[in-house]
């Protein structure tokens, strides 16, 4: 089938797109010792530019994307990506600026980063920001390393980090990478942290509690002040996973809740396009007592208003990556914050919560809740979790089948089978940039799939039918991995 041939299976020997500049210097033999020379050239594609363009444009048409349709992928905040951001990020003054340009000749970039730091600090309610981490998971690693440095500086050796069972998988994975042991916390009937479990496990060995609030159930933990008190009582830090920040911008601030360290996902709340799985950016905001340990360099502003990079940071955890972070993402997120302003950010979060609650209410009034009940609580923040357990029992279709059938209706399915503590979970996050009509249509599609399953569950169980490929053999792919084109 020609439409699934890879670029390596197309083209012909000698075909090319690139024209190499003419050699304009005297040619000298033997510049590279033979022992260092490559014997056989890498077998890269040999295609013309028209072939190259057609191949990748055709591949692009085999992707579903946010610009084409509703993408309520829970915990991923698939909000609209304004095109203005692509335009400003592409300005040569940003796009062709070398990261090692002398700070005196990169004042615009440093000013932008300084302004973005100040804005993120205000949203977080914490005074200091480092933009360096490359993604949310990288921000988490930074946060746990900061915690380690903070304790070590006081000669305090701690071994454990608490994470609730609702946590994103990156939390426990990060804890292990940072050399700590993971201790899991249970969830109470309201969907928040089980306080008794927390009290029992919070001791002097605990370095940190990592929390998402609202959490991955879409529940705002109303015990947050008490949680902060228990954690600080034993000398641990409180870490805020900012994956769900889109629920509370301008409404409630992690710093005011008692958090010491926050990471942001610029690709979630702040519109950096998701790119098919990256790039992202994961800045962190911290309290005063954590500030000495921030990654270096930090941006400083002199008395004369000029900006510089300060690398002389004796207590710093060091660097997490090269240069100053994903500046291209900073440009986009900064443009977003300046477009919306204070009121606009608050409005975005309010509308995100309104949309989620409206969609939940629509599903209820369509009778969907009987088969897909809300897992916790009555209302929700910016996202909510349904359990597909009754649907599985009554209609003999699983959450996976519902998700696959949604593809035939032209929707990207919600996040499925996460969080882990909800049976047959469906995590739905509509975001603020969707219209009421879209939410209505999505709710109607779910109701329709349930009606259809009541008549004939095999339709959903064998879906999808209208996609470029149908259900794929994932087990087989893992058993005998083929991860490159054979040549």
């Amino acid at each position: 089938m020609s439409d699934t041939l890879t670029i390596f299976e197309k083209g012909a020997p000698g075909r090319r797109a690139f024209t190499c500049p003419t050699l304009d210097v005297p040619e000298v033999d033997g510049l590279l010792p033979e022992a260092f020379r490559r014997g056989t050239e890498p077998r890269l594609p040999e295609v013309s530019e028209p072939e190259l363009v057609r191949h990748y444009v055709n591949l692009s048409k085999r992707n579903f994307d946010l610009d084409s349709g509703f993408y309520p992928l829970g915990s991923c905040t698939m909000k609209h990506n304004p095109r203005l951001h692509e335009r400003v990020a592409a300005l040569p003054g940003h796009a062709r600026l070398h990261p090692l340009q002398t700070p005196a000749r990169a004042q615009g970039a440093l000013e932008l980063m300084w302004n973005l730091e100040r804005a993120l600090a205000e949203v977080a309610g914490l005074p200091h920001v480092s933009l360096q981490p490359s993604a949310g998971s990288h921000g988490e690693l930074a946060g746990v390393l900061l915690t380690r440095a903070f304790h070590a500086d006081r000669g305090d050796v701690r071994t454990k980090v608490l994470t609730p069972d609702t946590a994103h998988g990156t939390n426990p994975a990060t804890v292990t990478m940072a050399g700590y042991e993971v201790v899991k916390l249970g969830t109470n009937p309201d969907g928040g942290i089980d306080l008794d479990d927390l009290r029992a496990k919070a001791d002097e060995d605990v370095a940190c509690l990592m929390l998402t609030n609202p959490n991955t159930l879409g529940v705002f933990d109303h015990n947050i002040e008490e949680i902060a008190e228990i954690v600080h009582e034993v000398g641990a830090t409180l870490y805020y996973d900012g994956a769900n920040l889109n629920a509370i911008m301008g409404i409630s601030r992690p710093g005011d809740m008692g958090f010491d360290i926050v990471h942001f996902n610029l690709h979630k709340s702040f519109t950096q396009p998701h790119g098919g799985g990256g790039p992202g950016s994961g800045p962190i905001a911290v309290a005063d007592r954590i500030e000495p340990f921030l990654p270096r360099p930090v941006i400083v502003r002199g008395r004369d208003g000029t900006f510089d990079l300060d690398d002389e940071r004796p207590k710093s955890i060091g660097k997490l990556r090269g240069f100053q972070g994903n500046y291209g993402c900073f440009v986009r997120s900064y443009a977003y914050i300046r477009s919306l302003g204070a009121e606009g950010l608050r409005d975005a979060s309010e509308t995100a919560v309104l949309n989620a609650n409206y969609l939940l209410a629509r599903l209820r009034s369509l009778g969907v809740a009987d088969e897909l009940p809300l897992a916790f609580g009555e209302l929700c923040m910016h996202e909510f979790v349904l359990s597909g357990a009754p649907m599985k029992r009554d209609l003999q279709i699983r959450t996976l089948d519902l998700a696959k059938r949604l593809l035939d209706h032209g929707f990207h399915p919600p996040t499925v089978y996460f969080p882990l503590l909800v049976d047959e979970a469906l995590l739905i996050e509509p975001t603020e940039t969707e219209t009421r009509e879209t939410l209505d249509a999505f709710a109607e599609a779910i109701a329709e799939i349930l009606r259809e399953a009541a008549e004939d569950p095999s339709i959903a169980r064998e879906a999808p039918y209208t996609t470029p490929v149908r259900r794929l053999d994932e087990a087989g792919a893992a058993k005998r991995p083929v991860i490159r084109q054979a040549l």
Binding site: R96, Q101, A109, L112, M177, A342, V469, R470
Partner: protein, 463 residues
Amino acid sequence: MLAEIGVGSLEELFDRQIPTAVRLQRPLDLPAGMSEHEVYAHLRELAAHNTSAEDELTFLGAGMYDHYVPAVVDMLMERSEFLTPYTPYQPEISQGGLQVMFEYQTAISELTALAVSNASVYEGPSAVAAAAYLARIANGKPKIVVSRGVHPHARAALRTTASAYGGEVVEVALRDGVTDPDAWASAIDQDTGAVIFAQPNFLGAVEDAAALAQAAKDESAGGPASDGHVAGSGTPQTAVVVGSYDPIPLGILRPPGECGVDVAVGEGQSLGNRLDFGGPSFGFFAATEAYLRRMPGRIAGETLDVDGKRGFVLTLQTREQHIRREKATSNICTAQALNALAGVVYLSWLGRRGLVELGELLLQRTHYARTALTSVDGVEALHEQPVVREFAVRLDAPVDRVIARCQDAGINPGFALAREYDEYADGLLVAITEQRSKADIDRLADILGAAVAAESHPAGAHA
């Protein structure tokens, strides 16, 4: 909408969920919003306060390079279908992105001559740290030996992460511009879990990669794995040899897979990605088959659908954080899919012969530039090793002041090594790309010569 929900106001939605004590009782202290054209004008103004590669003739490299980004790359990266989806969790509607990953993995495997590649990691320096972590979980040995020829930011990122898991980082000095072979061999022992060098190294010198890898295997052989870490069956107990590679010269340089390197990583920016003041770009991560199941990050694999049609999926996910949680091989979640797309499109645009031709062009021009610069009074080579795209010289004048003079004349001559190396306080690192012609190089030699002359004589400094 409120009526459907059954609440009287937006406020009520929040009042019923968030305690008053943690509600923000004032507006955020941020500027008011602006219209699209105002935001554009503001961002344009900030851009105008930067001196970019558009504004000066730049020879700055040191980890990121001003290569030409072809128009097809921009066009494809801007397509909604690549720009706006997320990780392909639903493969039936993500075949485009998944196939791009598969093609990217193939291209990186070919480039490195290593069997397996993931679908990309954040960027170069953190990829070096990730490779050391792979070694840690593979053999549990504490010591990480790293050449000072490895990018300073990569060594810094390595120290930052290694300290948390008890890794002991030992640096090996350079001699005559390359990793000192004697110091390298004597630093490596049976407790060494990973060794790391760069090719070419930070000073632009081509290392004898095969010799470094062989020495590492010889010196580290025989040590037992530490308790508490499970070494996989068949995983060699010698140190994991990690090479941090610049991808551009790999058309002409002997690839890591033919030098005994186990894991090759590197900064992918040169492959079709913009400078962007340091990111986003991508890191590549390739390895021998033995390390496939310990790799961090996403991997796409080929399979069939229920109708027997060829398709692609994310595979070997039992390594990953969303399945394995605290037992994952890495915490990495999002990779750099869009930047990796630029990488594979760029490599396809260059093509099989193009990468070789580009490598040969840069080899010749770099040699020409080194010769031209070192024939200037007050400029001499910092080392005599083979160079392929970048080289280091010593200046007989304060480097910062020479750079400032050149920049005033519209040329950025390169990177002051003193910013990262005390031992090369008089060093300047000069990078060549296909965008720097012979005429540009000649102009650099003239301007640099004048600047060195002016700065090496006290009277000249005030002229």
